[in-house]
């Protein structure tokens, strides 16, 4: 029996890597029992390998780390800083934070990012919804109610990150999306039949044809390991659920993934693999990417989603750009981009639909002409 600080606890396991120290955790990825020191080493090394194998960065690049003050972005900032130093990536790292204007949630987590700025010595930039769009999330929720909050927030946040990145003049944005997040997204897209997103959501680098590409160095990193790393290393992070999230659809996918992980932890990586290898039938029509007529941002429709949502907010039409049908009956026809024959919609009114034209899914909007 090996010497242990608690001799009564017979069967205390040894680390299977170094066989010296007591095992501190069981890795969900490999089911290995591993001690703290070996865990740090393998955690950091695996991320380093992901960065190399996928060529995420080039020497001399300026990289903005999307930092919310939460567990993933804090650990990402810490690990990237460390790997940048250790392996001489030659990167200029920055912290980029988005203030959505959610009282009691974002204001607290921003305090954490400000501390991270000092702790890791990385310059911080904060961009806010109020400055960019004229609306805080609190104001938006007051207008639209407690459903579809994440739709607004997610869309606005993506653009906010791009705007912030442009202001910082960085070459890429790195976000802390972890394996659990990506597996949830794959499931969500399957549940919603969103083929376009399904084909993109497992890419480790996205937006290469856009203004600022983004990458997810934690794509294969388990959430459990990120939390254990942060706990053992005593990293400072903020951990409260967004007050609007309990109503989010993603919660169901998350619950399912967590239950799956308990039975078969490997399922998370396997779902990602399924998502990566998914092939779409050549006869399926996919939306094409162009630019938004109003703001020039990347869009597969005439107007980008953010412009549609903003238009809805500013015109007091909170449902604009949300969901599928907008009260159209099944007789409504589409011709040359105009909807014909609908009693409840007024001439010249901007409204959203998707049932009529199956390509549009969540994005379609039209001006009614009778």
């Amino acid at each position: 029996m090996e010497a242990d600080s608690k001799p009564k606890k017979s069967g205390a396991r040894l680390c299977c890597v170094c066989t010296q120290n007591r095992a501190a955790l069981k890795r969900p990825k490999t089911l290995e029992q591993i001690c703290r020191e070996c865990f740090y080493a393998v955690f950091e090394e695996e991320i380093h390998q992901v960065i190399l194998e996928n060529q995420l960065f080039k020497p001399g690049e300026r990289i903005a780390i999307g930092a919310s003050g939460g567990k993933d972005s804090t650990v990402l900032a810490y690990v990237l800083s460390e790997l940048n130093r250790r392996h001489n990536y030659g990167l200029d790292l920055f912290l980029l934070s988005v203030d959505e204007g959610i009282t009691g949630y974002r204001d607290d987590s921003l305090e954490t990012v400000k501390r991270n700025e000092l702790q890791y010595g990385l310059p911080l930039k904060i961009v806010s919804y109020k400055d960019l769009y004229g609306w805080t999330m609190d104001e938006i929720v007051k207008m639209i109610g407690l459903k579809n909050n994440c739709t607004f927030c997610g869309v606005f946040r993506r653009q906010a990150l791009d705007r912030g990145a442009a202001l910082l003049k960085v070459d890429k944005v790195a976000t802390g999306h972890n394996a659990d997040d990506i597996a949830e997204t794959v499931l969500l897209n399957i549940l919603r039949g969103d083929i376009a997103r399904l084909s993109r959501c497992t890419s480790i680098i996205t937006g290469e044809d856009g203004p600022i590409p983004r990458c997810k160095p934690f794509k294969y990193t388990y959430e459990k390991e990120i939390v254990m790393y942060a706990y053992f290393k005593k990293l400072d992070y903020f951990s409260t659920e967004c007050i609007y999230s309990p109503n989010a659809y993603r919660g169901f996918a998350r619950e399912f993934i967590k239950d799956l992980e308990r039975i078969r932890p490997r399922a998370i990586l396997d779902i990602i693999k399924s998502g990566e290898d998914f092939r779409i039938s050549t006869t399926t029509k996919m939306p094409e990417q162009g630019t938004c007529e109003r703001c020039g941002y990347i869009s597969s429709q005439k107007w980008c989603k953010a412009c549609v949502l903003l238009e809805g907010l500013n015109r007091g039409l909170p449902k604009l750009g949300i969901g599928r049908t907008q009260g159209l009956n099944s007789d409504a026809k589409i011709s040359n981009g105009m909807v014909i024959q609908e009693e409840s919609v007024q001439e010249g009114q901007l409204f959203c639909t998707n049932q009529v034209n199956p390509e549009d899914q969540f994005f379609g909007f039209y001006i009614c002409k009778k």
Binding site: G70, D72, K258
Partner: protein
Amino acid sequence: MHLTLEFGGGLELLCESVKFHNVNVDLPKGADKLSMRDLLAWVRTNLIKERPEMFMKGESVRPGVLVLVNDCDWELSGQLDTTLEEKDVVVFISTLHGG
């Protein structure tokens, strides 16, 4: 049995925002050991003041809540069957929040 419990990752909100609890848990009737299974039931009854479904599901913790006994993953010591000893430190960390 005297134990120190720590709640992190947002779980402290379920215990009136108190992160650390020094507790004295009675062994179940007729038992000579305290298991994690027993402790969880005790915690649910005595410490969790709201939304118990955020902490537990069935007789175990909600999936997504990590448990450490003396800084070791409870998966290594048998999860619910882990036996606790005097002065042990048990940490519960939720991973279910934004990153």
